[in-house]
Protein backbone atom coordinates (compact mmCIF):
# COMPACT_ATOMS: atom_id res chain seq x y z
CA UNK A 1 0.00 0.00 0.00
CA UNK A 2 1.26 3.45 -0.88
CA UNK A 3 -0.21 6.88 -0.35
CA UNK A 4 0.99 10.44 -0.80
CA UNK A 5 -0.63 13.48 0.73
CA UNK A 6 -0.01 16.74 2.54
CA UNK A 7 0.19 16.61 6.33
CA UNK A 8 0.93 18.41 9.59
CA UNK A 9 3.56 16.88 11.90
CA UNK A 10 2.03 15.96 15.26
CA UNK A 11 4.92 14.28 17.06
CA UNK A 12 8.37 12.82 16.48
CA UNK A 13 9.98 10.13 18.61
CA UNK A 14 13.52 8.86 18.37
CA UNK A 15 13.82 5.27 17.24
CA UNK A 16 17.24 3.68 17.69
CA UNK A 17 20.20 5.87 16.88
CA UNK A 18 19.25 7.31 13.54
CA UNK A 19 15.57 6.82 12.82
CA UNK A 20 12.36 8.38 14.11
CA UNK A 21 8.72 7.43 14.40
CA UNK A 22 6.77 10.33 12.95
CA UNK A 23 3.09 10.93 13.62
CA UNK A 24 1.30 13.14 11.09
CA UNK A 25 -2.23 14.40 10.45
CA UNK A 26 -2.81 13.97 6.72
CA UNK A 27 -5.56 15.63 4.73
CA UNK A 28 -7.05 12.53 3.11
CA UNK A 29 -5.99 9.67 5.38
CA UNK A 30 -6.27 11.19 8.85
CA UNK A 31 -3.69 10.56 11.56
CA UNK A 32 -1.00 8.08 10.59
CA UNK A 33 2.40 7.01 11.92
CA UNK A 34 5.45 5.99 9.97
CA UNK A 35 9.08 4.99 10.36
CA UNK A 36 11.35 7.73 9.04
CA UNK A 37 14.84 6.50 8.29
CA UNK A 38 17.47 9.15 9.10
CA UNK A 39 14.97 11.12 11.17
CA UNK A 40 17.60 12.06 13.74
CA UNK A 41 20.09 13.47 11.26
CA UNK A 42 21.09 17.09 11.58
CA UNK A 43 19.45 17.98 8.28
CA UNK A 44 16.11 16.33 9.02
CA UNK A 45 15.71 17.76 12.50
CA UNK A 46 14.66 21.17 11.16
CA UNK A 47 12.03 19.48 9.03
CA UNK A 48 10.76 17.27 11.84
CA UNK A 49 9.37 19.99 14.07
CA UNK A 50 5.79 19.72 15.27
CA UNK A 51 3.31 21.88 13.39
CA UNK A 52 5.29 21.89 10.13
CA UNK A 53 3.28 21.47 6.93
CA UNK A 54 4.83 18.70 4.84
CA UNK A 55 4.26 16.47 1.84
CA UNK A 56 4.43 12.81 2.75
CA UNK A 57 4.76 9.50 0.98
CA UNK A 58 3.78 6.56 3.18
CA UNK A 59 4.19 2.97 2.10
CA UNK A 60 3.88 -0.45 3.70
CA UNK A 61 3.27 -3.99 2.50
CA UNK A 62 -0.03 -4.13 4.38
CA UNK A 63 -2.16 -1.19 5.43
CA UNK A 64 -2.07 -2.33 9.09
CA UNK A 65 1.72 -2.04 9.20
CA UNK A 66 3.55 0.90 10.73
CA UNK A 67 4.96 1.71 7.29
CA UNK A 68 7.80 3.88 6.13
CA UNK A 69 7.30 7.56 5.64
CA UNK A 70 9.16 10.14 3.60
CA UNK A 71 8.64 13.82 4.14
CA UNK A 72 9.32 17.02 2.30
CA UNK A 73 8.78 20.46 3.81
CA UNK A 74 6.04 22.75 2.50
CA UNK A 75 5.90 25.41 5.22
CA UNK A 76 7.93 25.59 8.40
CA UNK A 77 5.41 26.99 10.86
CA UNK A 78 7.70 26.07 13.76
CA UNK A 79 10.43 28.34 12.38
CA UNK A 80 7.94 31.19 12.01
CA UNK A 81 7.13 31.21 15.72
CA UNK A 82 10.35 29.93 17.24
CA UNK A 83 10.77 33.27 19.06
CA UNK A 84 7.08 33.73 19.79
CA UNK A 85 6.18 31.86 22.95
CA UNK A 86 2.42 32.10 22.60
CA UNK A 87 2.66 30.90 18.99
CA UNK A 88 4.80 27.97 20.12
CA UNK A 89 2.29 27.13 22.83
CA UNK A 90 -0.49 27.20 20.24
CA UNK A 91 1.45 24.81 17.98
CA UNK A 92 2.05 22.48 20.93
CA UNK A 93 -1.58 22.59 22.02
CA UNK A 94 -2.98 22.13 18.51
CA UNK A 95 -0.73 19.18 17.69
CA UNK A 96 -1.38 17.62 21.10
CA UNK A 97 -5.13 17.84 20.52
CA UNK A 98 -4.71 16.31 17.06
CA UNK A 99 -3.72 13.11 18.84
CA UNK A 100 -7.36 12.62 19.76
CA UNK A 101 -8.17 12.09 16.08
CA UNK A 102 -8.55 8.34 15.53
CA UNK A 103 -5.89 6.73 13.34
CA UNK A 104 -6.64 6.51 9.61
CA UNK A 105 -9.84 8.51 9.96
CA UNK A 106 -9.84 11.41 7.45
CA UNK A 107 -11.03 14.86 8.57
CA UNK A 108 -10.52 17.04 5.51
CA UNK A 109 -12.44 20.03 6.90
CA UNK A 110 -10.39 20.03 10.12
CA UNK A 111 -7.15 19.75 8.16
CA UNK A 112 -8.04 22.70 5.90
CA UNK A 113 -9.02 24.82 8.91
CA UNK A 114 -5.77 23.85 10.68
CA UNK A 115 -3.71 25.13 7.76
CA UNK A 116 -5.83 28.29 7.60
CA UNK A 117 -5.24 28.98 11.32
CA UNK A 118 -1.52 28.20 11.07
CA UNK A 119 -1.18 30.79 8.30
CA UNK A 120 -2.08 33.48 10.83
CA UNK A 121 0.47 32.33 13.41
CA UNK A 122 2.42 35.56 13.18
CA UNK A 123 -0.61 37.68 13.95
CA UNK A 124 -1.51 37.50 17.63
CA UNK A 125 -4.52 39.76 17.15
CA UNK A 126 -6.07 37.23 14.75
CA UNK A 127 -5.11 33.65 15.59
CA UNK A 128 -6.50 33.28 19.14
CA UNK A 129 -10.08 33.71 17.85
CA UNK A 130 -9.38 31.36 14.94
CA UNK A 131 -7.86 28.84 17.32
CA UNK A 132 -11.03 28.78 19.45
CA UNK A 133 -13.01 28.09 16.27
CA UNK A 134 -10.52 25.35 15.40
CA UNK A 135 -11.17 23.66 18.76
CA UNK A 136 -14.91 23.89 18.12
CA UNK A 137 -14.37 22.25 14.72
CA UNK A 138 -12.27 19.52 16.36
CA UNK A 139 -15.10 18.76 18.80
CA UNK A 140 -17.55 18.76 15.93
CA UNK A 141 -15.42 16.46 13.76
CA UNK A 142 -15.00 14.01 16.62
CA UNK A 143 -18.74 13.82 17.16
CA UNK A 144 -19.04 16.13 20.14
CA UNK A 145 -20.09 19.29 18.31
CA UNK A 146 -21.87 22.08 20.14
CA UNK A 147 -25.17 23.40 18.84
CA UNK A 148 -24.86 27.16 18.96
CA UNK A 149 -27.55 27.90 16.37
CA UNK A 150 -30.60 28.22 18.59
CA UNK A 151 -31.73 28.10 22.22
CA UNK A 152 -32.17 24.56 23.52
CA UNK A 153 -35.34 25.51 25.41
CA UNK A 154 -37.15 28.00 23.17
CA UNK A 155 -35.48 27.49 19.75
CA UNK A 156 -34.94 31.26 19.69
CA UNK A 157 -32.06 32.42 17.49
CA UNK A 158 -31.59 35.78 19.16
CA UNK A 159 -29.87 36.76 22.39
CA UNK A 160 -27.89 33.53 22.78
CA UNK A 161 -25.41 34.16 25.60
CA UNK A 162 -24.94 30.86 27.47
CA UNK A 163 -24.09 27.23 26.71
CA UNK A 164 -25.39 24.29 28.70
CA UNK A 165 -22.44 22.27 30.08
CA UNK A 166 -24.57 19.13 29.94
CA UNK A 167 -25.94 19.23 26.39
CA UNK A 168 -23.56 21.65 24.68
CA UNK A 169 -26.52 23.64 23.34
CA UNK A 170 -26.85 27.41 23.31
CA UNK A 171 -29.19 29.02 25.85
CA UNK A 172 -30.85 32.41 25.44
CA UNK A 173 -30.45 35.20 27.98
CA UNK A 174 -34.06 34.99 29.19
CA UNK A 175 -33.95 31.24 29.79
CA UNK A 176 -30.42 31.08 31.18
CA UNK A 177 -30.42 34.10 33.51
CA UNK A 178 -31.73 32.22 36.60
CA UNK A 179 -29.08 29.48 36.11
CA UNK A 180 -26.21 31.66 34.91
CA UNK A 181 -23.77 30.38 37.53
CA UNK A 182 -24.17 26.86 36.22
CA UNK A 183 -23.91 27.79 32.52
CA UNK A 184 -20.90 28.58 30.38
CA UNK A 185 -20.64 32.00 28.72
CA UNK A 186 -21.09 31.98 24.94
CA UNK A 187 -18.80 34.55 23.30
CA UNK A 188 -20.57 36.32 20.46
CA UNK A 189 -17.76 35.84 17.94
CA UNK A 190 -18.63 32.13 17.81
CA UNK A 191 -22.06 32.94 16.42
CA UNK A 192 -22.28 33.00 12.63
CA UNK A 193 -23.44 36.60 12.19
CA UNK A 194 -20.69 38.19 14.30
CA UNK A 195 -18.24 40.31 12.26
CA UNK A 196 -16.34 42.59 14.66
CA UNK A 197 -12.98 41.73 16.22
CA UNK A 198 -13.53 39.75 19.45
CA UNK A 199 -12.38 41.27 22.72
CA UNK A 200 -9.80 39.68 25.03
CA UNK A 201 -12.55 38.57 27.42
CA UNK A 202 -14.53 36.99 24.60
CA UNK A 203 -11.51 34.97 23.48
CA UNK A 204 -10.85 33.80 27.03
CA UNK A 205 -14.53 32.88 27.37
CA UNK A 206 -14.21 30.94 24.11
CA UNK A 207 -11.21 29.03 25.42
CA UNK A 208 -13.07 28.33 28.64
CA UNK A 209 -16.01 26.98 26.64
CA UNK A 210 -14.00 24.70 24.36
CA UNK A 211 -11.69 23.74 27.22
CA UNK A 212 -14.63 22.51 29.27
CA UNK A 213 -15.92 20.24 26.52
CA UNK A 214 -12.45 19.05 25.49
CA UNK A 215 -11.72 18.00 29.07
CA UNK A 216 -15.14 16.44 29.58
CA UNK A 217 -15.46 14.58 26.30
CA UNK A 218 -12.00 13.80 25.00
CA UNK A 219 -10.21 11.42 27.27
CA UNK A 220 -7.54 8.92 26.43
CA UNK A 221 -4.35 7.62 27.96
CA UNK A 222 -2.52 10.88 27.30
CA UNK A 223 -5.55 13.03 28.04
CA UNK A 224 -4.27 14.88 31.05
CA UNK A 225 -0.87 15.49 29.45
CA UNK A 226 -2.55 16.92 26.36
CA UNK A 227 -4.64 19.18 28.51
CA UNK A 228 -1.44 20.35 30.26
CA UNK A 229 -0.15 21.66 26.92
CA UNK A 230 -3.42 23.47 26.42
CA UNK A 231 -3.39 24.93 29.94
CA UNK A 232 0.01 26.46 29.22
CA UNK A 233 -1.41 28.07 26.07
CA UNK A 234 -4.35 29.57 27.95
CA UNK A 235 -2.04 31.01 30.64
CA UNK A 236 0.22 32.51 27.99
CA UNK A 237 -2.66 33.94 26.00
CA UNK A 238 -4.06 35.58 29.09
CA UNK A 239 -0.87 37.59 29.46
CA UNK A 240 -0.01 38.01 25.75
CA UNK A 241 -3.32 39.19 24.35
CA UNK A 242 -3.86 41.51 27.26
CA UNK A 243 -0.54 43.16 26.34
CA UNK A 244 -1.51 43.40 22.63
CA UNK A 245 -4.95 44.80 23.49
Amino acid sequence: MRCSDEAIIISVRSHGEAAAIVEVFTRNYGRILGFFYGGQSRKQRALLQIGNHVDIVWHARLSQHLGRIQLELRTSYAARVIEDFSGLAMLASMTALMRFIPERDPHIKLFDISIFVLNFLNNLSVWPALYVRWELTLLDELGYGLDLESCAATQARENLVYVSPRSGNAISYEVGMPYKDKLLPLPQFLLGNHTSVPSVDEILDGLKLTGFFLAARLRNQQGCLVHDARKRLVTLLQSSIVKVA
Partner: protein
Amino acid sequence: MNTNNINGPEIDRIIQLMTRLPGLGRRSARKATLELIKRRSDLLIPLANAMRVAADRLIDCPKCGNIDTVSPCTICADKQRDSGLIIVVEEIADLWALERATAIKGLFHVLGGHLSPLDGIGPDQLNITKLIERARDSVVKEIILALNLTVEGQSTAHYLVDSLKEVDVKITQLAHGVPMGGELDYMDEGTIAAAIQLRREVLL
Protein backbone atom coordinates in the same frame (compact mmCIF):
# COMPACT_ATOMS: atom_id res chain seq x y z
CA MET B 1 29.12 -15.08 12.40
CA ASN B 2 27.79 -16.10 15.79
CA THR B 3 30.32 -15.48 18.56
CA ASN B 4 28.42 -17.65 21.04
CA ASN B 5 30.09 -20.76 19.74
CA ILE B 6 33.68 -19.49 19.73
CA ASN B 7 33.98 -17.30 22.85
CA GLY B 8 33.52 -17.88 26.52
CA PRO B 9 30.52 -16.18 28.18
CA GLU B 10 32.69 -13.40 29.70
CA ILE B 11 33.90 -12.19 26.30
CA ASP B 12 30.44 -12.53 24.84
CA ARG B 13 29.11 -10.41 27.70
CA ILE B 14 31.59 -7.63 26.84
CA ILE B 15 30.47 -7.72 23.20
CA GLN B 16 26.85 -7.67 24.26
CA LEU B 17 27.37 -4.64 26.51
CA MET B 18 29.43 -2.83 23.87
CA THR B 19 26.56 -3.06 21.40
CA ARG B 20 24.48 -0.96 23.78
CA LEU B 21 26.81 2.01 23.27
CA PRO B 22 25.83 4.62 20.69
CA GLY B 23 27.50 4.15 17.33
CA LEU B 24 28.50 0.55 17.95
CA GLY B 25 26.78 -2.28 16.17
CA ARG B 26 27.59 -5.95 16.79
CA ARG B 27 30.43 -5.95 14.27
CA SER B 28 32.11 -2.85 15.72
CA ALA B 29 31.60 -4.19 19.24
CA ARG B 30 33.36 -7.42 18.24
CA LYS B 31 36.29 -5.46 16.79
CA ALA B 32 36.61 -3.30 19.91
CA THR B 33 36.40 -6.32 22.19
CA LEU B 34 39.00 -8.17 20.15
CA GLU B 35 41.34 -5.20 20.46
CA LEU B 36 40.76 -5.10 24.21
CA ILE B 37 41.47 -8.77 24.78
CA LYS B 38 44.56 -8.65 22.55
CA ARG B 39 45.94 -5.67 24.47
CA ARG B 40 45.09 -6.96 27.92
CA SER B 41 47.84 -5.32 29.97
CA ASP B 42 48.05 -1.91 28.30
CA LEU B 43 44.37 -1.39 27.45
CA LEU B 44 41.85 -3.83 28.94
CA ILE B 45 43.05 -3.74 32.55
CA PRO B 46 43.66 0.06 32.71
CA LEU B 47 40.30 0.66 31.02
CA ALA B 48 38.49 -1.69 33.41
CA ASN B 49 40.18 -0.02 36.39
CA ALA B 50 39.41 3.48 35.11
CA MET B 51 35.78 2.54 34.54
CA ARG B 52 35.47 0.95 37.98
CA VAL B 53 36.95 4.01 39.69
CA ALA B 54 34.73 6.35 37.69
CA ALA B 55 31.65 4.23 38.38
CA ASP B 56 32.40 4.35 42.12
CA ARG B 57 32.94 8.08 42.17
CA LEU B 58 30.42 9.44 39.64
CA ILE B 59 28.08 11.86 41.30
CA ASP B 60 25.46 14.38 40.20
CA CYS B 61 26.68 17.87 41.04
CA PRO B 62 24.25 19.18 43.67
CA LYS B 63 24.69 22.69 42.30
CA CYS B 64 24.32 22.42 38.54
CA GLY B 65 23.19 18.88 37.69
CA ASN B 66 26.38 18.03 35.78
CA ILE B 67 27.87 14.56 36.33
CA ASP B 68 31.45 14.44 37.59
CA THR B 69 33.61 12.47 40.00
CA VAL B 70 33.92 15.38 42.45
CA SER B 71 31.29 17.37 44.23
CA PRO B 72 30.74 20.20 43.40
CA CYS B 73 31.78 19.42 39.83
CA THR B 74 35.01 20.68 38.28
CA ILE B 75 33.21 23.51 36.49
CA CYS B 76 31.38 24.75 39.59
CA ALA B 77 34.62 24.60 41.61
CA ASP B 78 36.64 26.54 39.01
CA LYS B 79 37.41 29.96 40.51
CA GLN B 80 38.55 31.30 37.12
CA ARG B 81 35.00 31.24 35.80
CA ASP B 82 32.57 34.14 35.87
CA SER B 83 30.22 33.20 38.70
CA GLY B 84 27.80 35.94 37.65
CA LEU B 85 26.94 34.07 34.47
CA ILE B 86 24.90 30.86 34.31
CA ILE B 87 24.44 29.05 31.01
CA VAL B 88 21.38 26.81 31.04
CA VAL B 89 21.56 23.69 28.85
CA GLU B 90 19.27 20.70 28.31
CA GLU B 91 21.83 17.89 28.54
CA ILE B 92 25.43 17.31 29.55
CA ALA B 93 26.27 16.81 25.86
CA ASP B 94 25.25 20.45 25.29
CA LEU B 95 27.52 21.54 28.15
CA TRP B 96 30.44 19.69 26.58
CA ALA B 97 29.66 21.25 23.18
CA LEU B 98 29.70 24.78 24.64
CA GLU B 99 32.92 24.05 26.51
CA ARG B 100 34.53 22.82 23.28
CA ALA B 101 33.68 26.15 21.67
CA THR B 102 35.55 27.97 24.50
CA ALA B 103 33.49 31.05 23.69
CA ILE B 104 32.40 31.81 27.23
CA LYS B 105 33.69 31.04 30.71
CA GLY B 106 30.65 30.95 32.90
CA LEU B 107 28.98 28.40 35.13
CA PHE B 108 26.44 25.92 33.79
CA HIS B 109 23.09 24.52 34.80
CA VAL B 110 21.91 21.22 33.32
CA LEU B 111 18.12 20.82 33.15
CA GLY B 112 18.17 17.14 32.25
CA GLY B 113 15.88 17.45 29.22
CA HIS B 114 13.08 19.67 27.96
CA LEU B 115 9.38 20.01 28.63
CA SER B 116 7.45 17.45 26.62
CA PRO B 117 3.84 16.97 27.71
CA LEU B 118 3.34 14.05 25.32
CA ASP B 119 6.24 12.17 26.92
CA GLY B 120 5.09 12.99 30.44
CA ILE B 121 7.99 15.38 31.15
CA GLY B 122 6.76 18.39 33.06
CA PRO B 123 8.57 21.10 35.07
CA ASP B 124 8.82 18.77 38.10
CA GLN B 125 10.90 16.27 36.16
CA LEU B 126 13.50 18.92 35.26
CA ASN B 127 16.17 20.60 37.37
CA ILE B 128 14.34 23.95 37.42
CA THR B 129 13.82 24.62 41.14
CA LYS B 130 17.57 24.55 41.69
CA LEU B 131 18.07 27.05 38.85
CA ILE B 132 15.65 29.51 40.44
CA GLU B 133 17.48 29.12 43.76
CA ARG B 134 20.82 29.82 42.06
CA ALA B 135 19.39 32.80 40.17
CA ARG B 136 18.34 34.41 43.48
CA ASP B 137 21.99 34.68 44.52
CA SER B 138 22.96 38.34 44.18
CA VAL B 139 26.25 37.35 42.49
CA VAL B 140 24.35 36.11 39.43
CA LYS B 141 23.95 38.87 36.85
CA GLU B 142 23.00 37.03 33.68
CA ILE B 143 21.40 33.74 32.68
CA ILE B 144 21.95 32.52 29.12
CA LEU B 145 19.32 30.07 27.89
CA ALA B 146 21.30 27.78 25.57
CA LEU B 147 18.44 25.44 24.76
CA ASN B 148 17.85 23.61 21.52
CA LEU B 149 16.13 25.44 18.70
CA THR B 150 13.16 23.09 18.66
CA VAL B 151 9.53 23.68 19.57
CA GLU B 152 10.08 21.80 22.85
CA GLY B 153 13.38 23.55 23.60
CA GLN B 154 11.92 27.00 23.03
CA SER B 155 8.77 26.16 25.00
CA THR B 156 11.06 25.20 27.88
CA ALA B 157 12.92 28.49 27.44
CA HIS B 158 9.67 30.36 27.81
CA TYR B 159 8.75 28.41 30.92
CA LEU B 160 12.12 29.38 32.42
CA VAL B 161 11.69 33.05 31.48
CA ASP B 162 8.29 32.96 33.15
CA SER B 163 9.64 31.22 36.26
CA LEU B 164 12.55 33.68 36.54
CA LYS B 165 10.57 36.88 36.03
CA GLU B 166 10.45 37.54 39.77
CA VAL B 167 14.24 37.35 40.01
CA ASP B 168 16.31 40.44 39.27
CA VAL B 169 18.60 38.96 36.65
CA LYS B 170 19.25 39.57 32.95
CA ILE B 171 18.02 36.68 30.79
CA THR B 172 19.46 36.19 27.31
CA GLN B 173 19.18 33.52 24.64
CA LEU B 174 21.48 32.19 21.95
CA ALA B 175 21.14 33.75 18.49
CA HIS B 176 19.57 31.64 15.77
CA GLY B 177 20.30 31.54 12.07
CA VAL B 178 22.95 30.77 9.47
CA PRO B 179 25.84 28.74 10.95
CA MET B 180 29.54 29.50 10.45
CA GLY B 181 30.60 28.47 6.97
CA GLY B 182 26.99 27.87 6.00
CA GLU B 183 26.08 28.16 2.33
CA LEU B 184 22.45 29.06 1.77
CA ASP B 185 22.15 26.69 -1.18
CA TYR B 186 22.85 23.69 1.06
CA MET B 187 20.91 24.82 4.10
CA ASP B 188 17.64 23.32 5.25
CA GLU B 189 14.45 25.36 4.84
CA GLY B 190 13.78 25.56 8.59
CA THR B 191 17.12 27.23 9.34
CA ILE B 192 16.69 29.67 6.45
CA ALA B 193 13.15 30.51 7.60
CA ALA B 194 14.35 31.10 11.19
CA ALA B 195 17.27 33.23 9.95
CA ILE B 196 14.93 35.36 7.82
CA GLN B 197 12.46 35.66 10.68
CA LEU B 198 15.15 36.78 13.12
CA ARG B 199 17.09 39.06 10.70
CA ARG B 200 18.75 42.12 12.19
CA GLU B 201 19.70 45.55 11.01
CA VAL B 202 23.24 45.94 9.73
CA LEU B 203 24.99 48.60 11.79
CA LEU B 204 27.76 50.64 10.20
